[in-house]
């Protein structure tokens, strides 16, 4: 088995259809349906059961969660595999970090089990929606610290936001099954993000350049997921920013503010693109 495993080779059965971030970004359909928002629901675009497209949107999101969990499982497994135990320098990671990655692999395996059952419960079939492989892409770096920043902090931070939203969706929809499962997955994700925060700090304690590089990478990934303003504090974003749980997971107020700022900018950018597109169409 190779030491590093490229995203193109991820093994899937025939039901799965994969796409990547570049393809997703070139998709002109907006993550935020601004026209619908403006017409039918005032300013709010939050994923709540009263949205006219709630069940489709929730199903699509749950499928996205499921494939994200598969990649999180694969990414954690690879990090447990790819680096020898050592002091954290020269391509090694501390033994205890390897153990944490193995633990995360188990947690993510349970998340796949949960989200497969939830998808089934919600009437979604495996492969019904495309799989974006961006999470595993972030887990392919040769520097384990970048993996911690990109996967554990940026993407699993996003998972905290998504699960918080889905838990609320379950509450509002009177679906105790959904709410119960999201509650448990949220607890695990807070643990994984905290794991990332703690290890990033520890491994880069005496290497400020490496830490800065990792945090830059985290911002790049965070920005990717701000695209279209799909996640943000504005009610126009379908997914909220779960400040309290992010704090539990080791994010500082400044860090959450930075993410909120990126989300805001992305939403405004998207609105501008949509406005220009409409003007062009009208002409």
């Amino acid at each position: 088995m190779r030491q590093f495993f490229p995203v193109e080779d991820l093994a899937r059965d025939d039901r799965f259809v994969q796409t990547n971030m570049a393809e997703r970004m070139s998709d002109t359909r907006s993550a935020v349906d601004l026209q619908r928002t403006a017409k039918s629901r005032g300013a709010s675009n939050r994923l709540t059961p009263d949205r006219h497209d709630a069940s489709d949107a929730a199903r699509s999101l749950m499928h996205g969660i499921m494939v994200g969990e598969i990649q999180a499982l694969e990414g954690a497994g690879r990090t447990a595999h790819d680096f020898d135990a050592g002091d954290g320098s020269e391509g090694t990671i501390p033994f205890e970090l390897k153990l944490d990655m193995a633990r995360q692999a188990w947690d993510e395996a349970r998340h796949v089990e949960i989200s497969v059952k939830l998808s089934d419960w919600m009437g979604t079939e495996i492969g019904q929606f495309q799989e974006n492989t961006v999470l595993f892409e972030a887990a392919c770096s040769n520097d384990p610290v970048l993996r911690l920043a990109g996967v554990n902090r940026a993407l699993e931070g996003l998972a905290i936001d998504v699960f918080t939203q889905m838990k609320e969706f379950g509450q509002l929809a009177d679906d105790p099954f959904l709410e119960f499962c999201e509650d448990w997955m949220l607890a695990d994700e807070v643990t994984h993000v905290k794991m990332g925060s703690d290890w990033l700090r520890r491994v880069t304690e005496n290497d400020p350049d490496r830490r800065a590089k990792a945090l830059d990478f985290q911002r790049v990934v965070d920005k990717l997921f701000s695209f279209g303003g799909a996640r943000g504090e504005s009610e126009e974003s379908p997914i909220g920013l779960a400040r309290r749980f992010r704090e539990l997971a080791g994010f500082t107020d400044d860090e959450v503010d930075t993410i909120a700022g990126m989300d805001h900018d992305a939403l405004e950018e998207r609105k501008e693109v949509v406005r220009l597109a409409r003007e062009t169409a009208d002409v």
């Binding site: 190779r2 899937r12 497994g77 395996a109």
Partner: protein, 222 residues
């Protein structure tokens, strides 16, 4: 409150607390087959091999297309990491203050075994991956752990026995999962040939290694 030897014990409440240090049902015995250094050596071999196993399982998750097997491998990955952690923590208690020093394969053949076991990567080789782990390596773990548990001192080495029992429970569960997965994958004569040929190739190396802790893994070498 000295004991009065002239009093009938049946009626003397002051003597009712006097009991044999080992209750009649406690048959644990002092002698054991391993001294501290030998125990540490074996535990170091266990840790090394459990590490190689959890790394392999973690690495393979991305390479297997079968979703149920992907999830099982992720689950089992953690269990073997936990065993490695148990052994890692046991080593300093066995006077090895640098656990890395004894975190080693039993011999060169064991190292070659792990290299051969972890070689399959292609998504079409799930049978080979599972055979190496569940039909060759894990049975060897069950054997070595059982031998150790039954031959070490039940009193002086109780902490190792406790960890062995936890690990063995997982090994049995994992072996059963692995065997079920294999039986569900092996459907044609060609599958049977693939499984048995791969198993034989790996067994050859394992026999040369003598088991997880080398010759003597399951008893004195004749």
């Amino acid at each position: 409150m000295g004991a009065d030897t002239t009093t009938d014990t049946a009626t003397d409440t002051s003597r009712s607390h006097v009991r044999a240090p080992f209750a009649p049902w406690d048959r644990r015995d002092l002698p054991g087959s391993f001294d501290v250094a030998e125990t540490a050596r074996r535990v170091g071999n266990y840790k090394w091999t459990e590490m190689k196993l959890f790394e392999a399982l973690g690495g393979w998750v991305a390479t297997v297309p079968e979703l149920d097997i992907k999830m099982r491998l992720g689950t089992h990955c953690y269990r073997h990491a936990w065993h490695a952690e148990l052994w890692h923590k046991r080593l300093p208690e066995l006077r090895e203050m640098k656990p890395e020093r004894l975190t080693a394969p039993a011999n060169d053949a064991m190292e070659r075994f792990v290299a051969a076991m972890t070689e399959p990567e292609d998504s079409g080789l799930t049978i080979e991956k599972l055979v190496g782990v569940y039909r060759v390596l894990i049975p060897r773990f069950i054997a070595a752990y059982t031998y150790h548990m039954n031959n070490t001192s039940e009193i002086t080495d109780a902490p190792t026995i406790r960890s062995l029992k936890f690990a063995l429970q997982d090994e049995f569960d994992d072996w059963r999962d692995g065997e079920l997965m294999l039986q569900s994958l092996i459907k044609t004569p060609d599958d049977v040939r693939r499984a048995t040929e791969h198993q034989a190739a790996l067994e050859d190396i394992m026999v040369e290694a003598g088991g997880i802790t080398g010759p003597g893994s399951i008893g004195p070498v004749q």
